[in-house]
Amino acid sequence: MNEHHLQLDNIRISLEGRQLLVLDAEIRGGEVLTVMGPSGVGKSSLLAYLAGFLAPAFEATGLVRLDGVQLNDLPAEQRHVGLLFQDALLFPHLSVGGNLRFALPAATFDKAARVEQALASIGLEGFAMRDPETLSGGQRSRVALQRLLLSEPRAVLLDEPFSRLDTHLRREVREFVFAGLKVAGLPAIMVTHDAEDAEAAGGRVIQL
C-alpha cells in the first residue's frame, strides 16, 4: 500500500471576523495528529472545513493538500477524506451489509464478496442481513470503521470518536481504530477532549 500524506498550509478559520484557529501541519500515513482544546475554539469547524462542509457562516483560508491534490475546491464526496463521528452512525434503514455496501465505490467488482470479507475481518461473518440496531456497541464501532475503510479514503478525520463509549469499551475500540488506520497507512486528524485518547494515538498533539 502506498503511503498517503496530508498537508495543511496556513489554515485560518474565523467566524464573524473573530479568528478561531490557525494551523500548519503535515501528517504522514499511519500517523495521528491530535488536536485538543476547550469547546468553542473551532476544533469541529476544522474537521468540517477539511471534510468539505463548513457552514457558510465561517470564513476559512489556507491550502489543504492530500497526496499532492489540492482539496479546497472539491466537494466532500470527491475528497477521499473519511470521517468517524462520536456515534457509529450506521444507517438505520440499511442492514449491516447494506451499510458496508453503501461505502464501496460504484464500480467495485463483486460487492457482496467484499462485504462478506470485510465482515469476516472483524469477526462478524454472516451478519450482513442483520439490523444494525441488534449489534452491540463494540460491534457497531467495528462496522463503522470497516465502512470507512471500504470507501477507500486517503485520509481520516476523527471527531471525538470515543467520547460516547463507556470506559472498558473505549480502550478496545481505540486500539482497533488506531491499528486499522496504521495498517491502512492513513494520515489522521483526531479532535478530542480526552488526554488518554491523545496518548493512545501516539502522535503529535496540538493544543489550541
Partner: protein
C-alpha cells in the same frame, strides 16, 4: 454544496424555491387583482368599462349584510380562541402522560375527516331530531316529538363555529405536537416544577410563550378559514341571512350575470372581514401576552391546577367524542329505514341509500381520487425540491418563502373569484386540470407546513457521513435522506390528500360545477338531500383520507419491520 455541477437536475433544485413561490403566489395575486377590478365595476367582458362604487352601494344595501358580516367575524374569532385555548390547556395537563400518547395516535384520523363530513356528522348528532336528542328523549325530558328549536343553522352561527372548533382542534394539536420538540418542554417544566409550580401551570407559564410563535401561522390559517368558510357554513351556518362567503358564492352563481360585480365587491368585503379578524386577533394576542405576564409575575404556584387541567381535557375530550359520535351518527343514518322520533335506533335497517349512492358514485369518486393523487404528488415533489435546495445551500431559505403560506391566509373566495375571471378571459374551459392546479395552491402550503420541520430536523451528520463515503448529493438524497424521511413524507402526503379531498370551493368554482367530486356532491345535498343519502356521501368523502392516513401509518411499519432504529424517526 457550492460546487454542484451545472446538471439540469441541480439547476432545477437551485431554482426550486423561486419557482414554487411563483407558482403559488402568482395565482393568488392575479386572483386578488382580478377580484378588485370587477368590484369597482371594471369587467369589459360583461360591459363594465368604467370604475364605479355603485356595486359597493348595491352590496351594502342588501338586507342582513351587517348580520352576515358579524357572524363571519364571530366565527373567525371564536374558532381560534376556543380551539387554541383548549389545545394548550389539554397539552398542559396531559404533557408526558398516557393521555398525550393516546391523543398523538388519534390526531391523524381526526384530521382525516373532511370538514363537510364532520359538519354533517355534527348536524346528525345535535339536530332536534338528532342522535343526542333521541338518546335523552323521552327519558330525561319527556319529549315524544323533536323540539322546535333551531340548533343547526342557528341565527348567530354558533353551531357552525362549534363545527369549526371541532375540526380545528386536531389541526392545531398536530401543529403544536410537531413544534414542541424544538423547545424542549420537559426541561422547561422540570425547572418550573423545581421552583414549586404545579405541572399544568408550569407548562402554561414556561412552554406556551415559546410555543405560540411557532404555531402562530397555523392559528392565522384557522382564522382565515373560519371567517370565510363556505362548505361548513352551507351545512351548519345560518341561512336567514347566510354568512358573507356563502352570499358571495350565490351572487357568483346567479343567472343574472350582472350580479358578478356585486359578488366581486362581496369577495373584497370578505377579504376585509378576514383582515379585520386577523387584526383583532393581534389585539387578542397582545392582551393574552399582557394577562399572561401578570399571571406569571404574581408567582402563584398552586391554585386552579385541577380546573385548568379538567377544562382542557374535557374540552378536547368532547371534541373527540363529537367527531367520533358524528361518524357513528352518519353510519346509523346511512343504514336507517323508518325511524320514529324518540327511538334511539331505527325501526328498520336498509341498504337503499348505499345502493343508490353507489350507483352514482363513479365519476365523483374517480375525479376526487385523480385530483387528490395528482395534486399530492405535485405538492410533495415541489416541497421536497424546496427543502432539498435549502439543505444543499446549507442555509435557511430566505424569509420571502413565508409567502408560501399566502394561500392559507387569504380567504379562498377572494382570489378564486379573480382566477375564474382570468380563465374566462383566456377562454380556458373549466376542466380537471384547472381544478388540480387550484387544489395544488392549497395542498402545497399544508404539505410544506407538515414536512419542513422533519426535513430540517434530520441529523445533518447522516448526509455528511454519506458524502465522506463518496456519495454524490443525488445519491445522498435517494439513498439516505428520502428513506430516513419516508414516514414524515407519507404523513405529509396523507395530509395533502385530506386537504385536497376536503376542498369544496376550489372544486366547485374552478370546475364551474362540471367536475363533480365527493365533496361537491355531498355539500350539494346539504339542502334537501335525504338523510340516508347525505350520510353515505359524507362517509365516502371521509373514507379516502382515512385510507391515506392508514397507509401512511402502516407502510413504514411494514417496510421497516426489521429496522428497530427507524421506529423513533417519525
Amino acid at each position: 454544496m457550492a460546487h454542484a455541477k451545472a446538471r439540469p437536475s441541480n439547476l432545477a433544485i437551485r431554482l426550486a424555491p423561486s419557482l414554487v413561490l411563483f407558482v403559488l403566489v402568482a395565482p393568488v395575486v392575479l386572483g386578488l387583482v382580478l377580484t378588485l377590478l370587477p368590484a369597482f365595476g371594471y369587467l369589459p367582458v360583461l360591459g363594465g368599462e368604467q370604475l364605479t362604487l355603485a356595486y359597493f352601494a348595491q352590496l351594502f344595501a342588501i338586507p342582513g349584510l351587517a348580520h352576515s358580516v358579524t357572524v363571519s367575524l364571530m366565527a373567525g374569532l371564536l374558532t381560534p380562541l376556543c380551539a387554541l385555548s383548549l389545545v394548550l390547556l389539554f397539552l398542559a395537563g396531559a404533557a408526558g402522560t398516557r393521555l398525550e400518547l393516546w391523543m398523538r395516535r388519534l390526531v391523524a384520523p381526526l384530521l382525516a375527516i373532511p370538514h363537510a363530513a364532520a359538519a354533517f356528522g355534527l348536524a346528525f348528532l345535535i339536530a332536534p331530531s338528532g342522535l343526542f336528542m333521541r338518546l335523552i328523549s323521552p327519558e330525561l325530558n319527556g319529549l315524544i316529538s323533536p323540539p322546535d328549536v333551531l340548533v343547526v343553522n342557528d341565527y348567530w352561527g354558533l353551531t357552525m363555529s362549534l363545527g369549526l372548533i371541532i375540526k380545528e382542534i386536531p389541526f392545531l394539536l398536530l401543529m403544536a405536537l410537531a413544534a414542541l420538540p424544538q423547545i424542549q418542554p420537559e426541561k422547561r417544566v422540570a425547572i418550573a416544577r423545581s421552583l414549586g409550580y404545579r405541572p399544568c401551570r408550569a407548562w402554561l407559564m414556561t412552554v406556551v410563550p415559546a410555543l405560540y410563535p411557532l404555531i402562530r401561522l397555523p392559528v392565522y390559517a384557522v382564522i382565515a378559514f373560519a371567517s370565510a368558510t363556505v362548505d361548513v357554513s352551507l351545512i351548519l351556518g345560518p341561512n336567514l341571512p347566510y354568512t358573507l362567503s356563502v352570499m358571495v358564492l350565490q351572487w357568483f352563481n346567479d343567472p343574472d350575470l350582472s350580479y358578478r360585480f356585486v359578488a366581486a365587491a362581496g369577495a373584497l368585503l370578505q377579504l376585509g372581514v378576514t383582515l379585520v379578524a386577523l387584526l383583532l386577533w393581534r389585539l387578542i394576542e397582545e392582551l393574552g401576552a399582557w394577562l399572561g405576564r401578570r399571571w406569571i409575575s404574581r408567582g402563584e404556584r398552586r391554585t386552579g391546577e385541577a380546573s385548568l387541567r379538567i377544562t382542557g381535557q374535557v374540552g378536547v375530550g368532547l371534541a373527540v367524542l363529537i367527531s367520533v359520535g358524528g361518524v357513528f351518527a352518519l353510519l346509523i343514518n346511512s343504514f336507517a329505514g323508518f325511524w320514529r322520533f324518540p327511538d334511539n335506533l331505527p325501526g328498520a335497517w336498509t341498504t337503499q341509500a348505499w345502493s343508490r349512492a353507489l350507483g352514482e358514485i363513479g365519476l365523483p369518486l374517480a375525479n376526487t381520487l385523480l385530483i387528490a393523487l395528482v395534486s399530492t404528488v405535485l405538492a410533495i415533489v415541489m416541497v421536497i425540491a424546496v427543502l432539498e435546495s435549502e439543505q444543499r445551500a446549507g442555509k435557511r431559505l430566505s424569509p420571502s418563502m413565508l409567502l408560501l403560506y399566502l394561500p392559507l391566509l387569504v380567504p379562498q373566495i377572494a382570489f378564486l373569484f379573480g382566477l375564474i375571471v382570468a380563465t374566462e378571459f383566456l377562454r380556458w374551459a373549466p376542466d380537471i386540470k384547472l381544478v388540480i392546479f387550484a387544489h395544488l395552491i392549497f395542498v402545497l402550503p399544508y404539505t410544506f407546513l407538515t414536512l419542513a420541520e422533519a426535513y430540517r430536523r434530520l441529523d445533518p451528520r447522516w448526509s455528511q457521513l454519506a458524502a465522506t463515503l463518496g456519495a454524490s448529493p443525488w445519491c445522498i438524497f435517494w439513498r439516505v435522506r428520502l428513506p430516513l424521511l419516508l414516514a414524515p413524507c407519507l404523513t405529509a402526503a396523507a395530509i395533502a390528500i385530506a386537504v385536497s379531498v376536503s376542498q369544496y370551493l376550489a372544486t366547485q368554482l374552478i370546475g364551474a360545477g362540471r367536475v363533480p367530486s365527493l365533496t361537491t356532491e355531498a355539500v350539494a345535498l346539504a339542502s334537501g338531500g335525504s338523510r340516508g343519502i347525505v350520510a353515505v356521501w359524507a362517509l365516502l368523502q371521509a373514507l379516502i383520507p382515512m385510507l391515506g392516513f392508514a397507509l401512511a401509518l402502516f407502510l413504514p411499519r411494514l417496510l421497516w419491520r426489521n429496522r428497530r432504529g427507524m421506529r423513533g424517526l417519525n
